[in-house]
Symmetry: C2
Subunit: 481 residues, 2 copies
């Protein structure tokens, strides 16, 4: 049978469909609910400003994204200048929001500083002041990975954030207006120094441990590097000591879509509407990097969303939509929608940039003029020899290490005497397992004999540290005990 | 030394910087050249419309993105309706733009149909009419992978495209205006059927081979599936038989940023300005999926761009920019900038959707009501037994295949008698090597004894098929000879 005749049969076979369908297929003005959502959100936000003029201040209406209630966390106000890695003049003063769990021992030696990922607040677990579930609820408490029977856990909102700590949305003292993009670029090291100002204020000279996942793992390593005599153990989960071009590319894509939102307005949106559409798009991209292909294969596969009854048709095949139709699309859409008004866009830009800039290779550190912390301390380390045996899982360093690994080993030398847990996940596409091995190798090459290295399987990718209480929790608990 | 005293020293040490720097750091209105670029492009486009009102037609100014000169390719105009996979009424008529290389033999049995990736035109290689370099220039010609001494190569712009074939930017016959998003969603199968209408017109009953990479590989498999008696060999390079949630997610992210561009206007932008910013952002995301981490590690590492002399400072460390600063960022920016006016946004949306929809598992194919081609042909296959030995590299099918692999094997049964080359690249993150193995396994499970499977190393990721002439070219040449 020739092709034209096959086509003709097909045409005839399909000619029995209703005129309604014909109309829908070719003549109606197409609707795009996923695009309309942006306009609807914009209009809702505009209306809320009009209806609540009482919240208008000198600098305009309060940014409409949700902020936690300041009564639910502590604020440490630092009134001295903080030197910054990349700027010649220090930040004149700053606030750090923090929460704590457990009890600080009389000798103040049982504190664990917990570092957050990019967009998390200090609310790692529920408290009396804020009973809402925290972002690491299952890991903090009596008998849990961070055991409050034994330890005093401190979690801060990072410098640059928007949940109570000073960041681009905070008021610039000299102008009385939000910093916006006049805020200086901050580094992971700056964030950690700000946290140690808080520790000083709390009278905590030495940490039992510095613990963090994702960006928090960068901070955790930086804490040990900056203050090796004040950090007894370091936990780095799904982190890196040197951001790769691939991860920079993914964060750059997020910043690009955000900065292209007209509402962003070069960062000066605090007296208007926030770039909620750009934030939604950025979060969708981020979400792709947080999970992994295998999980989505299992969880969503190629399933389509269930249509509302009004749209459902008995036709087969169903006419595909250009808006989210596959479950994986509705998942990304939902993640973006949930996030777009919950976090400050400028904080996202600044903190993601700080992650890009993080590089512990010696040449990079030398370029930063960060004074070498080992030159300033009389108690370099060696106080943890008791752990030498139990945590030693050293294997010989790689035979032919690539040049940057040598540089990393040299850069990380100040961490050589601190017991460190490096935990990575094989399905992580953002902080790949190769990067976890790199950190562990570099530490061992630097002479660290207390490196504990764990590599987890599973399908959850980067987000494993939020989900896998069993494996991540046990590794941490074992290492800290 | 206590932290405050360290900080004070640091403050003093940094106090010698010039007031100019202080001003730049904290008081100036920040500039974002990467954001200004969008506005500058918009203004340039608007100006070109004002200055050239003569190109304004009934439907407004000609879309300003570049189109190839219609004098440089052939057009096949099909005036009969084309049945569509997802719509109950057929496309009333359509054009297919195509180019050819080599000479059609008197018996018309030496034709190779070359399928393109998402955004490519029919210009795969230079011709007399268009001497510009084609997208597969190094693979087509005398003695090359597609040897024009032996074969007659045909490459088309796909249905849905914007380089001469009918797509969303084409005029809808019944309205006289561009289809825009009234254009029906098309499938990979529809694209292939349109191509076979062209083959009929050229009097080519049987193809020597169907060859394609990326989306072209999907088409290549679909051609063999739809017309097993008309395709003697199939080449699938870096393709898939079933789009995964991960690849759908990456394409969804691209469509989302595009559709959020206010210029997109629900797809009806042909009498105004195109969504050039959305296109740039979409291309940046796409570029991330086209290359691989290892290549970027080698090529860009963590290098920064060279600053223009006016911006260069002797300070160390250099103050980081929020606009592209790392070379990897400038690379993505450049890729987006180059592409954003070269391709029609709606074509990108429709064709990327067609890729998402592609699924050769039996249940998916059954839901499409695509008549089984084997029922319509009297010469099912077996004509190529001569290749059985030379191309047989079969290994036993997997012992415990996952359910979808069984479904894929059943769905691909019509391809069981066609010699097929499956070529994949280990560093491909978009069409992963696991998917290449899946296609090869499914074909073997379907009883195909002529599967040639190659897996390439290297760092180029998905783009390997555009770059690695040596390995990709040799595999194709060997398979076709």
């Amino acid at each position: 049978m020739s092709l034209p005749s096959i086509l003709n049969i097909a045409v005839k076979a399909r000619a029995s469909f209703s005129p309604l369908i014909v109309h829908r297929a070719y003549s109606a003005n197409p609707h795009f609910p996923c695009v309309d959502l942006h306009a609807a959100r914009e209009s809702r936000l505009r209306q809320s400003i009009t209806q609540h003029p009482q919240i208008t201040t000198d600098t305009g209406p309060e940014p409409p994204y949700a902020r936690p209630n300041p009564a639910t966390y502590h604020i440490y106000r630092h009134t001295h200048p903080l030197p910054l890695t990349y700027y010649p003049i220090p930040l004149p003063s700053f606030d750090i929001a923090y929460e704590t769990w457990g009890t600080l021992s009389p000798s103040r030696d049982n504190a664990i500083l917990l570092h957050t990922g990019l967009s998390a607040s200090s609310h790692a677990s529920s408290t009396q002041a804020n009973p809402a579930e925290g972002w690491w609820e299952k890991f903090i408490g009596p008998g849990k990975a961070l055991d409050t029977n034994q330890f005093f856990i401190i979690c801060t909102n990072v410098l640059g954030g928007c949940y109570g700590s000073t960041g681009p949305s905070s008021i610039e003292p000299s102008t009385g207006k939000p910093w916006a993009t006049r805020f200086p670029v901050v580094s992971i090291f700056d964030m950690v120094r700000a946290q140690f100002c808080l520790l000083d204020n709390l009278g905590i000279r030495k940490l039992a441990a510095s613990v963090g996942s994702s960006m928090g793992a960068m901070q955790s390593l930086a804490a040990g590097w900056l203050f090796p005599d004040r950090v007894q153990k370091v936990v780095s989960i799904s982190g890196t000591a040197r951001s790769t071009p691939s991860s920079i590319a993914m964060r750059y894509a997020q910043r690009s879509v955000l900065m292209a939102d007209p509402n962003w307005n070069n960062g000066f949106y605090y007296d208007g509407l926030p770039p909620h559409t750009g934030m939604k798009l950025a979060r969708q991209i981020a979400t792709i990097t947080y999970r992994s292909g295998p999980e989505w294969d299992q969880r969503f596969g190629r399933q389509l969303r269930t249509l509302p009854k009004s749209d459902a048709s008995t036709e087969t095949p169903r006419i595909p939509a250009l808006c989210p139709d596959f479950l994986i699309e509705t998942y990304l859409d939902h993640q973006g929608e949930q996030f777009c008004l919950k976090y400050d866009a400028n904080s996202l830009i600044y903190i993601s940039k700080a992650m890009d800039l993080f590089d512990m290779t010696l040449p990079a550190l030398e370029a930063l003029n960060l004074r070498h912390p080992l030159n300033e301390t009389a108690t370099p380390a060696g106080t943890h020899a008791i752990h030498r045996t139990s945590h030693s899982k050293s294997h010989p360093p790689p035979v032919n290490p690539p040049p940057h690994l040598n540089d990393l080993a040299k850069g990380m030398a100040p961490l050589a005497q601190i017991p460190i847990l490096i935990l990575g996940v094989q399905s992580d596409i953002l902080f790949t397992v190769e990067q976890q091995r790199e950190v562990a190798d570099a530490l061992r090459m630097a002479g660290n004999e207390w490196v504990s290295y764990y590599e987890l399987g599973g399908v959850w990718g980067h987000d494993t540290f939020l989900i896998d209480v069993q494996n991540v929790g046990s590794a941490i608990r074992g290492f800290l005990s």
